[in-house]
Amino acid sequence: MGKPILEVEHLSGGYSRKAQVLHDLNFHVNQGELVGLVGLNGAGKSTTIKHILGLLEPTEGVIKIAGQTIQEDADRYRSRIGYIPETPSLYEQLTLSEHLELTAMAYGLKKEVYEKRLPGLLEMFQMTNRLKWFPAHFSKGMKQKVMILSAFLVEPALYVVDEPFVGLDPLAIQALLDLMVEMKEKGSGILMSTHILSTAEQYCDRFILLHQGKIAMQGTMEELRQKVGDPKITLHDLYVAVAKGEEPWKK
């Protein structure tokens, strides 16, 4: 296991000081590791992600990517993140190929690298014939694919992936999972929030169970099972227990 790429220490925050959503979160994502961020709607997953992206400022605590905070160098901090949002947002006036070019340019990718990576990715997601299309003609799944393509084009050090499977066809889901495994093996860290727990259990190395803005449990599947003293419990059952506020680790 590599060094930590993302470190979150004593993070508290939210949209305002009065309405704090997150309370003292501590976790990290190592290089070459896929970490699942799991929690109910409103548990604070998206807020956590916004803090990591630097779209919200913590009221307390520190977030570091590759040992650097956003205050030290915002551009470098952000160029290390590839973000796949829950709701795809595209520019109506740009085609697929222009979105991808924009991303590549913004991340300072060399043109050769961009042109080398692009065809394979397009093919994986069946988007090769759609390069000249405008988003108005894309389905929800295709829009999501544009986000995925943009992120994997850059091959950043850290992927932040928010609920990526919704609206994707089965082939695309498999392609995304394969890509995440590939990037992990290349040394990237991935933080993924999702509700598809069976997939998460199968693919994630560790889990962070978020409940009401606090980390209820975290660790590998083995560690989680040990904590609750049930060697066979699935992530699904564990999650349901946590979500009901049963605090299963105290049993």
């Binding site: 992206l53 630097g54 779209l55 915002a74 551009d75 952000r78 160029s79 993140i81 590839g82 973000y83 796949i84 949002p85 795809p88 947002s89 595209l90 520019y91 109506e92 006036q93 740009l94 222009e98 070019e101 924009l102 991303t103 340019m105 913004a106 991340y107 300072g108 043109k111 405008f134 108005a136 986000m147 943009s150 992120a151 850059v154």
Partner: protein, 404 residues
């Protein structure tokens, strides 16, 4: 249900409340003033022109064409919203009253425009066709009648997706009927056309309602009408709902390639593409250019051309500042590049498109005034103004508020 009965009033009220905001702006803008001038001047000229016409002027043909189109073209405003497809679909039966009110509303609106145009045509008609006022009024009533039939037919057509054939038949009969009335053909010929209309209505048009009402078609029609309204309003003010309209204009994409590849080019490409394709930016730029050139041709030659060039580039400049707000933080670009790039790129593209306009204005100044001096001054002062405006006023605005 009481709610559904009131729905029509609520929806119509909502629209007119929004419309009145734009109409107020329209009233306060220079547009109204120009319109008065146009009406007054046009009226005088029109009267004089009619006096010179002889009775063999083809008034009937012209009026047949004008009213044929006016009566045949029957757009339907229903004030439906796309969410109605979910919420109102189950109560379609109870919406009969709603749709009846919509038809009356459309009839009144379109009838009013017929009255207007028929009133404008009055001097022409009475001078070249017949001065009989009774005949003039009877024709108006007949126009209403055939409009009402068109409205009914269009409503029936909303039950089928493919209605081109019905439209053709309807258009043909409408135009023939209006033509016969205007040309005062023998009464039995008119009766034959009326019979044809009745037969078409009973055999084809009336039975259309055995099909299901095609909501998508209704919604598309409503959307088209609403967009027409917004386009009109957009000529005098910035209509937020028009912002997302996009035209690919692929033939202009090559221009954006001038900026090549690289981090510094990201926002330049973005803003140039947005300028070319999004909203009305290119349209505003082009229209103001055209009006400016037209004024240059019409107004006295010389320094006036220079002033026109400056004024119209300034007008363009004040409209185009909104381009800055087109950027929003999307997934990737926003996280990697600082705002510094964004602002400088915007100012670069902004001043460049103004500069191009100024160069074209200067070339026309040269053509029209045939004076290299005046053209040169137009260009140099124009460039100085653009530079000053962009890098003092607009830059300050962008820096201060983050939005324009």
């Amino acid at each position: 249900m009481e709610k559904i009965k009131q729905l029509w009033m609520v929806r119509r009220g909502e629209f007119w409340q929004e419309a009145s905001r734009y109409l107020k702006l329209l009233g306060n803008s220079g547009f109204m003033f120009s319109l008065y001038i146009l009406i007054l001047g046009g009226g005088v000229y029109y009267q004089r022109w009619i006096k010179g016409l002889s009775s063999d002027f083809p008034t009937e043909w012209i009026l047949t064409a004008v009213f044929g189109i006016l009566v045949f073209r029957t757009p339907l405003r229903t004030f439906l919203k796309s969410a109605d497809l979910v919420f109102l679909l189950p109560v379609e039966k109870q919406l009969a009253g709603y749709f009846r009110q919509a038809l009356i509303y459309n009839g009144l609106l379109q009838g009013t425009s017929i009255v207007f145009v028929w009133a404008i045509a009055m001097p022409l008609y009475r001078h070249t066709v017949s001065s009989d006022i009774m005949g003039y009024l009877i024709i108006l009533v007949l126009l209403f009648a055939v409009k009402a039939w068109n409205l009914y037919a269009v409503w029936q057509e909303q039950h089928v997706l493919e209605s081109t054939l019905y439209d053709l038949l309807r258009g043909f009969l409408t135009i023939v009927f209006i033509g016969m009335v205007l040309f005062k053909t023998p009464w039995w010929a008119v009766v034959i056309v009326i019979l044809a209309i009745v037969v078409l209505t009973l055999s084809i048009i009336q039975p259309l309602s055995k099909h299901l009402l095609k909501w998508d078609k209704l919604l598309a029609g409503e959307k088209r009408q609403l967009e027409r309204f917004y386009r009109l309003a957009n000529m005098i003010t910035d209509v937020p709902k028009m912002r997302n309209r996009m035209k690919p204009r692929r033939w202009l994409t090559g221009l954006t390639e001038l900026y090549g590849y690289g981090q510094a080019q990201v926002f330049k490409k973005f803003y140039l593409k947005t300028f070319i394709r999004s909203g009305e930016y290119l349209g505003i730029w082009f229209r103001l250019l055209l009006i400016g050139i037209l004024l240059m041709i019409l107004l006295p030659k010389g320094v006036t051309s220079a002033i026109v060039a400056w004024v119209f580039t300034y007008l363009t400049a004040s409209q185009l500042t909104a381009l800055y707000n087109e950027y929003f933080a999307s997934s990737s670009t926003s996280f990697t590049l600082s705002e510094k790039y964004l602002k400088s790129s915007f100012l670069h593209i902004y001043s460049t498109v103004l500069l191009v306009q100024m160069v074209i204005f200067s070339l026309f100044t040269l053509f029209i005034s045939r004076s290299l001096e005046i053209a040169g001054i137009t260009l140099l002062v124009g460039l100085a103004l653009i530079y000053a405006f962009t890098y003092s006023y607009v830059k300050r605005k962008v820096n201060k508020t983050g939005t324009v």
